[in-house]
């Protein structure tokens, strides 16, 4: 059908550059270092431009809802005086039902401005629907490449639903069997069609999310008279954390703690045909969160604009059963039927709020639409059909791919700390390996300090442990 895998992958840089209209080489400063802020400034858009572009397509300005009953629940479990006010940014109110509309709005705007006839993305997530919706608004063509099926043509109901939604907005959807080579097909399609590479990881894809952080800081100030104390973000590829944190900084909400939350899917291989349908979350899980945080440049662009370790203050994990549980509670206690995937941060928030004082403010910065395929009943029925043991109990005992345990009591929802220093070490190791450097100067040390939100002395220690020589200052 197309040129061979090796031939196409060999032309990868050339294809991507043409399909983005960005020359990434201008930001490179040696084998390891690149000018991240320079890239965001020169290629992205200013916050006021982003707001104007999003407003023109009915994206953003979503409500901030105080979750009074879930807050009461957290306080009933917490020591006296503890239990922060929990708010939810209702991103399901965006045109395509998720915060991804913010990213897509910028990518499609950029594609139109540069004269591309259409947009392409490889995604099984809400981003496909967002891109299709935005492309429909601007009259561009849209092509979505999805990883959908195992080798028996069985597909996760959630992914099937996202494909249906793309088609509803007039996109062509290529539904593939399991494997990371969907990236190869995307490259073939970029060459064939001349469409824009609407990757999630361009500066546009990240600048689009900054408005969430900015809006929520403004909303929290207006309702409570203070800055948000903590923002909890569901962490998949790292874009949501990066964009939200950058938006908070632009709103000068510098003391807000940024916490990433992912569903723990350890032990399941994301590219395994056997494991593929044994997970009940298709995003917001550790299978994306950990590899993307520790090596962002694995993405479909030369330099990934989503770099979550630059911004994270904590990273916590939840179990699948806890997220289904909080999804049910959001419906029956707050009257909001949303998710479940975007509710990963909400499950963590129930636990994290109990550590905080009652006058403090915790914001869960996204919700997403629900419906056929996505709803917990669809997900859990599918899991049961695959022989996964779904039951009540203590989620601590659950094993990804074998069991999903729905908490017996609300105090069994726990945010489990995952060591950020461990991830930072892994990032430093990856950066040294990929660049091949043997000697690090001040520039490398400072770059890695920025990459990990750590001080230069800690970076020097890590480099020495890895056998990298330090240049005399």
């Amino acid at each position: 059908m197309y040129d061979s895998y090796d031939e196409v992958m060999g032309r990868r840089q050339e294809i991507i550059t043409k399909a983005l209209g960005i020359d990434y080489s201008q930001f490179e400063q040696g084998p390891m270092v690149f000018d991240y802020e320079g890239m965001m400034d020169r290629v992205g858009y200013s916050l006021s431009d982003v707001r104007a572009i999003q407003q023109s397509v009915a994206v953003g300005s979503t409500p901030l809802i105080e979750l009074n009953n879930i807050t009461r629940l957290a306080r009933s479990l917490a020591p006296a005086g503890k239990g922060a006010r929990i708010f939810l940014k209702d991103e399901a109110c965006n045109p395509s039902g998720s915060f991804k509309a913010r990213r897509a709005a910028l990518s499609v705007y950029e594609a139109e401005r540069k004269g591309y006839p259409g947009v392409i993305a490889a995604t099984s997530g809400n981003y496909g629907a967002a891109l299709a919706s935005q492309a429909a608004m601007r009259g561009l063509k849209c092509l979505i490449v999805q990883e959908v099926f195992d080798s028996h043509w069985v597909g996760q109901p959630e992914i099937l639903e996202k494909g249906r939604k793309c088609e509803a907005y007039g996109a062509e959807v290529l539904q593939l069997t399991v494997g990371p080579e969907l990236f190869y097909l995307m490259l073939c399609l970029l060459e064939e069609t001349g469409f824009f590479n609407a990757s999630l990881y361009t500066p546009f894809g990240i600048a689009g999310i900054e408005t969430i952080g900015f809006e929520l800081a403004e909303q929290v100030r207006s309702v409570t008279g203070r800055d948000p104390d903590m923002v909890v973000v569901t962490h998949a590829g790292g874009g949501n954390v990066t964009g939200t944190a950058r938006g908070l900084l632009k709103a000068e909400s510098e003391n807000t703690q940024v916490v990433g939350a992912s569903v723990d899917l350890s032990g399941l291989h994301m590219a395994s045909d056997r494991d593929f349908n044994r997970k009940s979350f298709t995003t917001g899980h550790t299978g994306f969160g950990v590899p993307f945080a520790t090596w962002p440049d694995r993405a479909d662009v030369p330099r990934n604009a989503a770099r979550s370790l630059r911004y994270l203050d904590r990273y916590v994990l939840t179990h699948q059963g806890e997220v289904f549980y909080i999804t049910e509670l959001l419906a029956v206690l707050e009257g909001l039927e949303r998710g479940p995937a975007g509710n990963t941060a909400l499950a963590a928030a129930l636990s994290l709020a109990q550590e905080m004082d009652q006058d403090q403010v915790l914001v869960v910065q996204e919700s997403e639409y629900t419906g056929a395929g996505k709803h917990p009943s669809a997900q859990l029925s599918f899991a049961r059909e695959r022989g996964i043991d779904v039951r009540r109990g203590d989620p601590e005992a659950s094993v990804p791919g074998e069991s999903i345990i729905i908490p017996q009591k609300p105090d069994q929802v726990r945010a489990r700390e995952f060591s950020l220093d461990k991830m930072r070490r892994s990032l430093v190791r990856n950066a040294v390996r990929e660049s091949g450097i043997k000697i690090a100067g001040e520039r490398e040390v400072r770059y890695l300090a920025d990459e990990t939100k750590r001080d230069v002395n800690w970076i020097r220690e890590q480099l020495l442990e890895l056998g990298v020589q330090l240049e005399e200052v």
């Binding site: 009933s76 494997g179 069609t193 395929g373 669809a378």
Partner: protein, 104 residues
């Protein structure tokens, strides 16, 4: 549903993207033993029966050739079966909150 697609029918075809021999070295063994396949929907360009090769025109006007697998392909996902464990969990949480004093 007819087993023979007519010109202009809405259909689904499947095609091989990569044979197993050409798959990436990074893929786990169980996946590498299989070809990478795809399915796509569009309008039939000619008559064909299920299993035959045919060309389609997609909604964005691309032409793709593959083996016919379905005519009027349905969406098969839904809301699934009820999950009584979740219904009870929701009720338990409401009862828990009823037991919590109003000023908490």
């Amino acid at each position: 549903m007819s087993k023979r697609a007519q010109i202009g029918d809405w259909v689904q075809i499947e095609a091989e993207v990569l044979p197993s021999a050409q798959r990436s070295a990074a893929v786990p063994d169980d996946t590498r033993a299989l070809p990478l396949l795809m399915r796509v929907k569009g309008f039939a360009q000619k008559e064909a029966t299920i299993g035959q090769e045919m060309a389609i025109t997609t909604v964005i006007g691309r032409e793709i050739t593959g083996r016919l697998v379905a005519i009027d392909p349905p969406d098969v996902h839904g809301f699934g079966r009820p999950i009584p464990e979740l219904i009870r969990a929701g009720l338990n949480a409401r009862e828990w909150l009823e037991g919590v004093s109003a000023d908490v």
